[in-house]
Assembly symmetry: D2
Homo-oligomer: 265 residues x 4
């Protein structure tokens, strides 16, 4: 909890080339900025708006690719699981397991992930209050796992819209576990395009800056070389070439914020 970190990567493992390019670039950028980096990408998008949408390479091919990125590039990797039977094969490959926001209340999934004893990143559901996360975290802790991260990604705000309550960022970051702000899903407009979610890429950076100033320990960002052609979540993904400037700003705001917060203690 004492060092700013980044979880980032393309929303879904579209292709080997994209995954390696993004992972390598992000690794180098973060190294240059002295920011710990975890690569994130999904092998399956299990809850797309439309049944027509691209879902990914699937569990086997996806884990194979994540394993090679991990080995070849020397970066820790994170991915999300969607059912209890996926937990064991995923835990055998990745460094951090992630539970999806929509599934935050599925007790068996949270417990199964926690039982792997791998670090687990629990995303707060759009339908939960900040304090509701205590009970979710308690489910993970009941499995004896204390390596937990908690991620904020926005709350329901009317229809097809989310709002980020920075009180939630402040509250969760006061807890015992690292608090992550998911800067790109937070600007989704869920279902906003009818058969797909829309997004407001333009607000990724100001929201991320705000969250870091409010106390977030790290940020999560979906990043793509060419977001407008991404097969998933392009509207809210950050352009790869825009990442360095964003991370520099976040790192500096983190440093200033922590200096003042620590001085006030």
């Amino acid at each position: 909890k004492d060092r700013f970190f980044v979880i980032a990567g393309p929303c879904v493992l579209e292709s080997e080339e994209l995954a390696f390019t993004v992972a390598r670039t992000l690794r180098d950028v973060c190294q240059g900025l002295d920011i710990p980096f975890i690569f994130k990408s999904s092998y399956d998008k299990a809850n797309r708006t439309s049944i027509q949408s691209f879902r990914g390479p699937g569990l086997k091919a996806g884990l194979d690719l994540l394993g090679r990125i991990r080995a070849d590039l020397g970066v820790p990797v994170l991915t999300d699981v969607h059912s209890v039977d996926e937990v064991a094969p995923v835990a055998a490959v990745v460094d951090v397991l992630q539970t999806p926001a929509f599934l935050a209340r599925q007790t068996d999934l949270i417990v199964a992930c926690a039982r792997t004893n791998k670090p687990i990143n629990i995303k707060k559901a759009q339908f939960l209050a900040p304090w509701d996360m205590q009970q979710v975290v308690a489910k993970a802790e009941s499995a004896g796992n204390k390596r937990i991260l908690v991620t904020e990604r926005g709350s329901c705000f009317g229809y097809n819209n989310l709002v980020v309550d920075m009180r939630s960022v402040a509250l969760l970051s006061r807890g015992p576990y690292p608090m992550v702000f998911d800067a790109t899903h937070s600007v989704q407009l869920p279902g906003g395009r009818g058969t797909a979610s829309g997004g407001q890429r333009d607000f990724v950076e100001p929201l991320a800056r705000a969250a870091v100033a409010a106390g977030a320990d790290g940020v999560f960002m979906e990043v793509h070389e060419d977001p407008d052609r991404a097969l998933c979540d392009g509207a809210n993904s950050l352009r790869l070439r825009d990442v360095p400037a964003v991370l520099r700003a976040l790192r500096d705001i983190y440093t200033v914020t922590r200096k003042h917060v620590n001085a006030a203690r």
Copy 2:
């Protein structure tokens, strides 16, 4: 879609005695009022607020009990499934499968349920707009199943609170499938008691009356002999002895509403 119907029963299969008592009473009440009745109860509460909470008898014992209620009392039964591997055993026993609101976006679960060719009751998530349900329904239809029910159970409204948008009831009831109003989950205060959800039983009846007047085809209600001692959702469950008066009012409002709506066509 031309006849008012009721889906009701205790939230969870607490005991054989409770389940049989509630099922038999509801069957007789509905028979007396000439309202088609489907018994509902859960074998597992997979998304309780707290890990300490009662979950139910489990799949095997629960399906066994549901099967006996069905056979002995001659009532159709409905229950909810929480993962793809539960779908086949459940479909072998019940008349209607139900998908949980939190899981409305899990493509594989919706499709697996639809593939059984049993009627499927899809609950609208608290985080979805009414029109978002079109895409969810399209996932079920993609499996060739047209025996679909769509259930409204409230939308996120700030923290630990839900609001029922009657525009959603009106909109969904204009669609091709029977539209159900879940009158008891709609008055939940999710997570409102810290380690459990609260509820506002007092509003079950006026909300149900409102939904039927707005166009709902049927209602869903959790019913318990002694809700204050229920092991799940007691705060928002209806008292068994209050059911007859409520159903009489709903049936009469349904009749008046349909008369005027049909006259206007």
Copy 3:
């Protein structure tokens, strides 16, 4: 509180002809249905979205017209006031004063209206909880006035959208004063057209039916001969020719609802 009633009329006093036509037609329709009727129209729209929008004939000409409608047609009239100095001249002409929703918290305006000892219809603000209205009502009561009506017109729900919480209708109708459901402002999409508010006329009738079934004592509706050409709030106004069918349905739902509610006491 024991008889269903209607407050209706064109949003604003566009012209003498429109006002008289709508007032006369509504009077006759309500007479035929045995429903008490109060004519409503505004002399000034003091809070239009855009400064370019039509505001009305102004205080003097507007009150003159309202006075003639009252005298010539023999109907009670209601209008809304927007500042303390308008209260006395308005009270000299109309039967019921109304306070705008946005101004529900302006203590001086509420008290000034109440001091006239005329009946006062207090609209609940979009930003208030149902129980917040107790304090607003207490301000009116502090002036010794007990002839109060309380109107629900929807709550903020994300941006440019309102939702009607039927729990509010149920709660407010349990209070000591007649509870009115404003069926046409409740379907506004405030500011939804950029320089004007949008509306969803299609939902006026189902929402009104729902509110009456939830316990509303009366309804408020803006009505226009040709809403698509109305100078204010056309998108959510009801067509004059559609009023009879709507009122018949509401009256019948009211009758059925009250029969059951009274039986349950």
Copy 4:
């Protein structure tokens, strides 16, 4: 728009002593930090939750006190007006006029304030979308006034709660006018105590940090020597002794943020 500034003071002019103490201390703190400072306090709280609540010294005594603070301490002063007839006397004394959030849609008040040609701080209503402020600002501009500030103070989020959408801060700060973040009203729980609003003082600082990082040009804060004994808004007011640390943090986050934002242009 190129320099961080602060508008602050006690919610209401409780006493001459309190007003002078707070004004003098804030002036000196801001001077030490090289931050431009405007003193704010109200002569009348026109929209208290309860009619029993303290309202202030009234127009005459209040303006007299504000005038002496201005003259004796050499600080610019700001206060809020609640009706058109207050505009002229207030404009004769203060440096900046402010319009209340609840009254953001009252055309005549906005225009009357703008016509004074004094700078005018327009608070965004809790019921407006960020983009709705364009029409409100256009009303002020229609009077030929371009010295406008726009203030964000939170949006309705369920009942008795507000949420600050940092997208609004980002959006409004991209406009032509200085954008102010009202850090203390944003943590109000409106009506949350039944006969008074509650507040979450604990979140003032993290929200203010977040808003400055999101792009706010200045902050607005209610400050009291002993907030727990304040006659208005104590629950969300900042303690006077906590102000220096908060402002130092905000100033430094402002500097870092602007450096990066300007570099990105």
